[in-house]
Symmetry: C3
Subunit: 363 residues, 3 copies
Amino acid sequence: MTRRTKTIHSIAACSAMCALVTASGTAVAQSSLTVFGVMDAAVRRTNTDGVGHVLSMASGSYTSSRYGFRGREDLGNGLNASFWLESFLSTDTGLASPDGFQRRATLSLSHAEWGELRMGRDFTPTHANWSRFDPFNYVGIGSVQLFSLSATGTTPVTAAFGSNSNSIQRSSNGVQYLLPRNSWGVEGGFTKAFGESKVSASDQHDSIGGRLGINLGPVFVSAASYTTHDDKTISNFKDRALAASWDAGVVKLSAGIRRFDYRDARQNNYLLAAIVPWGAHEAKLSLNRTKMGGSVGTTSVNGDGADQLALGYVYHLSKRTVAYATAATIRDKGNTRFVVPGAPVGTAGAKSQGFEFGMNHEF
Amino acid sequence: MTRRTKTIHSIAACSAMCALVTASGTAVAQSSLTVFGVMDAAVRRTNTDGVGHVLSMASGSYTSSRYGFRGREDLGNGLNASFWLESFLSTDTGLASPDGFQRRATLSLSHAEWGELRMGRDFTPTHANWSRFDPFNYVGIGSVQLFSLSATGTTPVTAAFGSNSNSIQRSSNGVQYLLPRNSWGVEGGFTKAFGESKVSASDQHDSIGGRLGINLGPVFVSAASYTTHDDKTISNFKDRALAASWDAGVVKLSAGIRRFDYRDARQNNYLLAAIVPWGAHEAKLSLNRTKMGGSVGTTSVNGDGADQLALGYVYHLSKRTVAYATAATIRDKGNTRFVVPGAPVGTAGAKSQGFEFGMNHEF
Amino acid sequence: MTRRTKTIHSIAACSAMCALVTASGTAVAQSSLTVFGVMDAAVRRTNTDGVGHVLSMASGSYTSSRYGFRGREDLGNGLNASFWLESFLSTDTGLASPDGFQRRATLSLSHAEWGELRMGRDFTPTHANWSRFDPFNYVGIGSVQLFSLSATGTTPVTAAFGSNSNSIQRSSNGVQYLLPRNSWGVEGGFTKAFGESKVSASDQHDSIGGRLGINLGPVFVSAASYTTHDDKTISNFKDRALAASWDAGVVKLSAGIRRFDYRDARQNNYLLAAIVPWGAHEAKLSLNRTKMGGSVGTTSVNGDGADQLALGYVYHLSKRTVAYATAATIRDKGNTRFVVPGAPVGTAGAKSQGFEFGMNHEF
């Protein structure tokens, strides 16, 4: 007793999984501040046919390395104020780049029955809809991420955004309304992000959209749409996603499609995945396909695309720590030059492979 | 037992208002480490006559968004060691820029009766003297800040510092002596900041000055002076401020003047403000005027200036969380082109308006 | 009671010296998260003969200013997962540069009997071997650091790395195996860092090496070797260090040599040091010598070198806080232009001196 009293003396923290430390006095409003994060590192070997191989250390191949602060204050009458600050982090180099808290920076006013008003930088509705169906958590060499981001080559995403910030994953300056937890199993929300560029062109774009999901016992279905526009720089970029999962106990299956439309170009991304858990183990399988059509400027992208196959194994050392191994291969079609993350860029239509094994620790 | 329950509650919950978590063992010197911050976001609409309007998300319009770490160690015999690290933060984008802890980074040795020796980066005496009289806390569209910083146009501040770092708000490399709390109600201190530029020109300047305030019951009067010099780049930049407040209960009034002198140019900033609190509510009014004289190089700034009127409303959801709304207008005179923060820059003598409503949460 | 015991379980005591706060429930795995750091500031006056003097504020002259997060999770069966994130920090300016956690970012899986597997960015074996024998902790005007880093002039270090990141102190992308604590007093480990540059040249280099030390009662001897190579940019850079210390009670003596070899150039750094502790006081003496030989390109560095003499005094205000003063002088030989840190760069063969007094606080 005495010993613990002494050791408590300066506190500050919490695992992502443990209950928050809160005031236990009934007269005091409950409040909390949590320091949290993920450290993830893996040794990776990738290879692109005709180019060569690279041995490297990767950060965030099971879930993204990150760190942050979040907190909540009970305002009474069912109202809560809360915030979330989350930074990028690289376990291999120590970099936290892009800097600040560009993974997420939000301030919320929420009510158990009325829902949540959230302001700041957060995931877009379509990303939120898409990433949760990927058994590889949108990261690592098995990730569905690759086909959603700009890449070497010609795609609707690069046509719309080039190397500027895009709205595929996140938007700044957003005002969101999110549905409360309800008895019908319906979830989702609406997002409006300010481009702030009516007067001069900026790197941030006006965006609007929403997501709607429904939990039907073991089945979950979710759809989202998000349109980005900037009257100075880009036309409408349409991003839509539809996906479903079925938790059959011995296996959890998921399938989805995400479509990008920009001017005359379109890109369809397909996902088919399975997770088989047994005890502290998990096996994961993912099949991703991307297929483009139309043209970017005067360049036809008909027939461009790629297939990705990924196999993963996870061993849970604890609730917060896992060891994992993933193998993946990508086969390009047409003029695409997608490669497994970390592999050297190859020629059009090349094949690349990779293998990585690592460790992930939540704090 | 009960006592520990109480001490635990601010653990993690380190609001700026709650007691610090400390060792409760009597044999152990008391010490604390606090993670703290502010998240503030507002939706803002601004307009400049003849240019147009911008809809945007602002960060830090009630008080500046920030995060940081601070701590204190009891060294015995009345001595304390303490530190303060505070970073910029943008709730709308997640940026923490300028990076590091450039809002404040100080290390102190202090004594209840002898005062405090503080080293590092901190507010200048004149800024400390000026900002506390602004009912808008020096931020947002109603802030007195605007007239103190370099702006589009020709002012003593831009003449002295251009776009380099200035000593209007903060100085790096500072050694401060701060008076202890005393029974005469006298407060203040002395600051010397090293320019480190005797040999080669640097972006940091030699500065020296101090502040002296006196609490006379409901009346508080404070004066400060700070002179910046760099033998390689700039002449003496003189910054002086004098202000007073009167807390009459139903209303708190404040008035002040801050004057910048640089070579042949001078700028006088005037502030007249009132805060009316009732229950959880507050109404705020602020009148700011800036008036320039003399010349910057060969350009006369006689007759240049601007008037700013701001009205605010605050609702306290709790001690740590508020909702607020502010409206402000700026009318330029002569060749100045000051605009309400976030408004597009207009032509000389233009008028701009803005409105913002938001939420502010301390943690 | 039981409930609170659980919620406390990941909290942390934040002094670098105090025990971690852990779950005391036997059913819950022990875990911790600690926010830690050092704030250090000093007023420094340096002088270079023939150039002049500079008065400045220094950060980190007793130990480096820093801040970070670290944590540990007990996985059961003697296994632990742990992480360490540590950032640069400047008390004088508030900068945290280089940004992110480039002082250290590591993720570990460790076992009391088998040792530790550590991945990420960390000290190199030779730096770990060298810096611990410097009574000035490798920082400040008395530090042995100076002769190990690239400097104005021609040295093997600048020849190999120029102004790019070098592997003198730290390596990114490292996989380390570290020996467990054992009854023979043997310590050390092995490091392999991936250059990730087989395909294109990168700023990071392939490196490999290790360290082995042995504790023989009051005597400690340690040797390390680290070789850096990049098939695109640099030849083998060899870094070797050998040092020993003897703790005689009234005085702790240490001596060491570190040698850099790059192509035709070599540099030998010698260290001879003593620490005399009495009560809360410490006196420190350090003699550093660097001597170069061979040639860098076509430039002979034979006869180039420098001698450094440093005297220090430390007063321990508490276990976490000290006041200190250091005086140092450097005399160059041949064409070297090493100067005391913070002093203006002089002509070849010049002499420079410095004095600093400051305060250091661990949290």
